[in-house]
């Protein structure tokens, strides 16, 4: 065997976020001289499809596996199988519950969304109506970002009222229509939070099409979101460090495969960015197009 092989099974594939993770993984692969593949189901609901991908990855007898579980419990038997076969598992994105992963490179989505809530409250004067467009009602990231935002508002900003939470599958067009209906139903809405890239762009589009001014906070990056922030249509957004997640995941996997010690938790961090800091090098480094 010439090159070490490390498959990454993610939660998605086509979203820009996942493509950025993939880019980071590919970069690490090049730097470290290993072979990496990257795969994920079409939607974050398809728990069993992800399991099938994991099974195929195991069949290839990899040196290590990177895994972003849609549902940790569901993956347990296969993870156990990996452990039995002495294939180290590195968890990434929102992690894998349990003690199987040798390392976890993830974002704390709850804290990140709470930060978004704080920023929102600040920008609307700590009172008024806000709404959320979330990408998924049942996936870990969707739940964490929704709850992180909502709970933080309840606790720290009691005068902010959340009037609507809708889910748009991260589909730009659906999220646009959802936003327009929410704005229509709430003429006095002051702010909206879009919980991933597609949702955030949908919120921007919807507000623009209805000609409404409001405070929009997004999540993730992408060319359109960065542009919206520069243009002032979006107040700011949370970004994770997807490229870093991908890179660190592969890095940890390689180490673990070689039997070297790895950090149990790699916090890849999250950041709030807006017009003022978007071009700062440390922020620009974690944004993607």
């Amino acid at each position: 065997q010439d090159k070490m092989y490390i498959p990454l099974i993610s939660k998605g594939f086509q979203h820009q976020f996942w493509q950025a993770v993939k880019a980071g993984a590919d970069k690490a692969a090049a730097d470290l001289g290993v072979e990496v593949t990257f795969e994920g189901p079409d939607s974050e609901t398809q728990v069993d499809r992800q399991i099938d991908m994991l099974a195929a990855a195991l069949a290839k007898k990899p040196a290590a596996i990177g895994f972003a579980a849609l549902d940790s419990q569901a993956a347990l038997p296969l993870l156990q199988q990996a452990k039995d076969a002495k294939i180290p598992v590195v968890a990434f994105d929102s992690g894998v519950e349990g003690d199987i992963p040798v390392s976890t490179a993830s974002t704390n989505n709850i804290a990140a969304a709470a930060l978004a809530a704080d920023k929102m409250a600040e920008l609307i004067g700590d009172e008024g109506k806000v709404a959320l467009v979330v990408h998924d009602q049942t996936s870990r990231t969707g739940i964490d970002r929704r709850d992180g935002f909502v709970n933080r508002m309840k606790e720290a900003h009691p005068k902010v009222e959340i009037v609507a939470i809708e889910y748009g599958e991260g589909d730009h067009l659906k999220s646009t229509e959802i936003t327009k209906a929410i704005l229509q139903a709430n003429p006095d809405l002051k702010g909206m939070f879009g919980a991933n890239e597609g949702s955030a762009i949908g919120v921007v589009n919807g507000a623009k099409e209805l000609g409404r001014q409001l405070v929009i906070i997004g999540y993730d990056s992408g060319a359109q979101q960065k542009q919206a922030i520069r243009d002032g249509q979006m107040a700011g957004a949370i970004t994770q460090n997807p490229v870093g997640i991908g890179y660190k995941t592969v890095e940890a996997a390689v180490k673990a495969a070689k039997g070297e010690a790895v950090e149990k938790n790699i916090d890849t961090g999250f950041y709030y960015y807006d017009k003022t800091n978007i071009d700062q090098p440390d922020i620009a480094a974690v944004l993607y197009d």
Binding site: Q137, A164, H172, I178, K180, I182, A185, Q224
Partner: protein, 331 residues
Amino acid sequence: MSATASTGIVSMGSKFSGAHRLLAFASLIALILVFSLASPNFMQTSNIIAILQATSVNGVLAIAATLVIITGGIDLSVGTLMTFCAVIAGVVLTFWGMPLGFGVLAAILAGAASGTLSGTFVAKLKIPPFIATLGMMLILKGLSLVISGTRPIYFNGTPGFTQISQGSLIGSVFPALPIPNGVLILFLVAIATSFILERTILGRFTFALGSNEEAVRLSGVNTDRWKIAVYALAGSICGIAGLLISSRLNSAQPALGQGYELDAIAAVVIGGTSLSGGRGTIIGTLIGALIISVLANGLRILSVAQEWQTVVTGSIIILAVYTDILRRRRL
């Protein structure tokens, strides 16, 4: 064959097609009424326009699907073909920097080419339409990702591009009616397709193929060629949908599209077109598409919890079609 059971009903409907067409609006009108009464925010110009605009992409896709369904086929590729055409427009306009007109042309031609291919699979190779267009759906989905480099393609270099869907020609003439071009295009496509279906030889063969293809063939007609033509026309209409959606999002999103076929086909069937072919109208499809968007919009305006929205939408779709069936039976 299985269509026989329902023939009695359908035939009577067609006799009173004038009255029936009017009545087909009934479910739609009823929905609009209910929502208007339930929320003052529903019946507002801005919301009506929002609903129409939300209908535009699905409406155009549904019109494409209607054509294929009338021939007795099905087209599962409409959604990913739309995306593919959007990506092609992106390549021509953004990657190659060519002028707007070329992008528009390229999208429509890409649609026609893909439709021709699907049509050839179905007509010449006798592959069941479900399989041919399922295969095309996957192929086009993959190709969109490959061609775009799995990245959205933005149209910032072509400022006029967003006007295709978001500008308002009507609004520039009648400022009180700021109807976006996307909606205008939907209606123009509907009128043109309706015209083709009702008045031209292509339209006549579309129905004839769905009614009894073998009889048409034995009448000395080159059925393959006409069938391919129908798929090609449907494809080019998907190209228009591709332009509409990418203009609206100011980007070709290569990952989007799968799943859209179901909404499109649903609009067609809600609109009274029979999946066994030979029967259907564009106006019905338009109504079907409107029912879907009114429902989505209205339930959101009423702040119904999303999981319940789904339940209610499912129930109302069944109810709307049932009401339509009852009405036709009574005629």
